[in-house]
Symmetry: C2
């Protein structure tokens, strides 16, 4: 046994015996080296070994911590639709109305807290645009959006191997407008579309408003889109479009593999189904390795890819985009009669920011914080929530998906939490007809502090009453 | 005969004999007083008399000018729809695509030039918001929009006698988004709606995309909406909504009278027709007297009133609104799944501007410039365009509507002008099926200079070839 293996073994025993408990800090590298009479390199190797085994977790500038036993992953037991039906879920109105009216700790959101975003740099870019291009900043943008920004976005697509020309990009008010425009452009009322289950409630609302019928394909924790089921649905129905979130499904955070992405592209191409890809979380892979958008392998031109800077730079500037494939011209026109065009200043400022700053550097820090927050959420849930609470183990994105044991009442928990000033997103929001009543989505984007720790403890106590 | 009347008579003769010709400057007040041995007050009175008679026109800081003989008003000879039909007008695509691709003198636009807008003050407001409220400026706004701005808008409604609560207002990306959201919220595909003829092409595009059927009510130069015809249409058809521009119809600039406004409200209320009011030009009455929006007399709650800061402060900030009446809740939800919400910074900056500056003072100057530009356009047309060219005499707004003599080809003129770098809006754009082929809309919002004068001369020469 090597020296570092012996040290790792000792630490493993301390954890097993409870001498070091979940969430507790391991001795520092220096303490370990001195205490065990080994070199710093050996102490580091021992800690890395524990990390590989999932027993310890590193936190930037804080050292190593004992990792909590991971909760079991949630079970998908949605009564998913195999026959096309309309979206009918009153929670899409009343729950969202209740949240909109409340000033709460925003654990219901799927956004990084302002302090995690480069606000000063963005403000500087906004001011710079006003100083050096006041007239352009305040005048109409072209309906398609400013070319200087479309070029930057095309470059980012190129970095993940997707060939997207600036002329194919349309700037939108976030990814939500991109998805809405795409849906309005490729579907007509009564058409059948596939959505994931669970999926983002904004997609369900847009689908409902357009009087589309839905089929549901499961997105599975840890696996992503169930491509065999998708193929089945496409065989048995005429499906106009599929609205998919292959990269870090909202709310699950699961990642669809490259092989599955290529398989589902083939399915959709074979059946003449347009894919509207929601890639808003693609840049937030906690591993740091940005997964490819579907668009990368889209040889037939069946994908409209939607993205945004909302989750990585500034939600309130409302700068998103779509890569419109064969529908680009129609989408530019739809953008015109939807709102003429997006505001100029945010577009020009975003382009300025991207030119001047290393986005990757900011993303590295952000992803790291999100992964760390998710780990702390897991630990707090293991400590405070009812035994048997299940939790997703996301690979990216901004959310954690929880499932209460014994069919606990997520809606009751939502309401009790709201009354205490804590916002949560009950599971029913993520289904076309009110499934996931025992589930809940929480945000990993809030900086960890005592208030948050306390809120999770309170939530745990309320959860115990809801099961 | 009083002294001033005698002087006025002499000037009248000089004009009649051509000693002073159209567009020429009258002698200054001081010259008139000295030359005719009268007091300055008498000279001023004489000029005011000529202005009252429509023979002279005052230009700020330049004195009095001989007014051109006004062209005759255009004749409405649209084959207006009496039976519901779909919008079918290829010009809505190809003409707008051609304009979008061109860098031209923007006589086709309906926007004031940047130099006529308070850009420095708006920039200062934007910077101030970034300095003192950076986090709020970059974070999501509520889907309904920031309350501080909704309050300001409600106050402006109150000033024209319309009771609109801040809670009823929804901030939108300009009036176009307000109209689109309203249409999507109150209609379903196949519904019949009334539009004006002529009307703004953005409205026609939105109606076409929603697969609505249209009936057309004439908007008459100098008179506004033909309310008797509207009543007839509502009697003979089930009409879900009417999209109306009572204040300074785009493109005509005509104003519907208060009496007619009240009459058409009664008609619509009786027949259960929702009114979507486009009041974007309401603040641009050249007389300075802001006409009332329909909303002022809306007792039954059938009006969704749409407005914007695009035409008076900054088109590129994309800040508009709607007052949603009974549909407010549904409209807020529609706003959410259309784009989550509008950008925060432009809303907060607009509110800051309105709090700190006298909007009326800016509007007075702007209206004056627009009226003056329209007069100069009239004169240039009388000088350079084919004999028999007709022109609207708008009471407000940003456009002049021209009609070529002898069924001249407005589309050919548009294309010839585009080739010379001059943007114009051919009449066909303003009809649901390509009427007004002999018409053209020009912008009154460009500051008068030699380039513009030359462009109008060139347009006149091209027009002579197009008739």
């Amino acid at each position: 046994m090597l020296l570092y293996e012996r040290l790792a073994e000792q630490l493993r025993e301390q954890i097993a015996q409870g001498a070091l408990s979940a969430g507790e800090r391991l001795p520092s590298i220096r303490q370990l080296a001195q205490g065990h009479g080994v070199s710093v390199a050996t102490a580091v190797q021992a800690c890395l070994q524990l990390e590989r085994e999932g027993l310890a977790v590193a936190r930037p500038r804080s050292g190593y911590f004992v990792r909590a036993a991971m909760p079991q992953p949630p079970v998908v037991r949605s009564t998913r639709r195999r026959v096309p039906g309309t979206v009918s879920n009153p929670a899409l109105q009343d729950v969202l109305d209740m949240l909109a009216r409340s000033d709460v700790l925003p654990l219901h959101s799927a956004t990084p807290a302002p302090s995690l975003l480069p606000q000063a740099a963005l403000s500087a870019s906004l001011s710079r645009c006003l100083r050096h291009g006041q007239a352009a900043s305040l005048d109409y943008a072209p309906p398609q959006g400013h070319l200087v920004l479309r070029r930057q976005i095309a470059q980012r697509y190129a970095q993940v191997g997707a060939a997207v020309a600036p002329d194919e990009i349309v700037i939108t008010a976030g990814a939500m407008e991109a998805i809405s425009l795409a849906l309005r452009t490729v579907t007509k009322p009564g058409d059948v579309v596939v959505v994931e289950t669970p999926t983002y409630h904004g997609i369900l609302q847009a689908v409902a408003a357009l009087q589309l019928k839905v089929l549901e394909v499961p997105n599975l924790p840890g696996q992503g889109i169930d491509v065999a089921r998708l193929e089945q649905l496409l065989q048995q129905n005429t499906v106009r479009a599929a609205i998919l979130i292959p990269n870090f499904n909202n709310p699950l955070g699961s990642l669809t593999s490259d092989a599955d992405k290529q398989a589902l592209l083939k399915s959709c191409a074979r059946h003449g189904t347009v894919i509207i890809e929601d890639d808003i979380y693609g840049e937030l892979a906690w591993s740091g390795q940005r997964p490819s958008p579907l668009r990368r392998w889209d040889k037939q031109g069946i994908v409209i890819s939607c993205g945004s800077f909302s989750k990585i730079l500034a939600p309130g500037l409302r700068v998103g985009w779509l890569a419109g494939s064969a529908w680009t011209e129609a989408l530019i026109r739809a953008k015109y009669f939807s709102s003429v065009g997006c505001a100029s200043l945010p577009q020009l400022a975003m382009a300025d920011y991207l030119q001047r700053h290393d986005l990757e550097r900011h993303l590295r820090r952000l992803r790291c914080t999100l992964a760390d927050n998710a780990q702390r959420l897991h630990e707090a849930i293991a400590r405070h929530w009812p035994v048997g609470t299940r939790a997703s183990e996301p690979r990216g994105g901004l959310s954690l998906w929880l499932q209460l044991p014994d069919g606990g009442d997520g809606r009751a928990l939502f309401e009790a939490a709201l009354a205490k000033g804590i916002g949560t997103s009950p599971g029913v929001l993520f289904s076309s007809r009110g499934d996931y009543t025992d589930c809940m989505r929480l945000c990993c984007g809030l900086p960890w502090d005592e208030r948050l720790e306390l809120a999770l403890k309170q939530l745990g106590q309320l959860a115990k009453r809801a099961v």
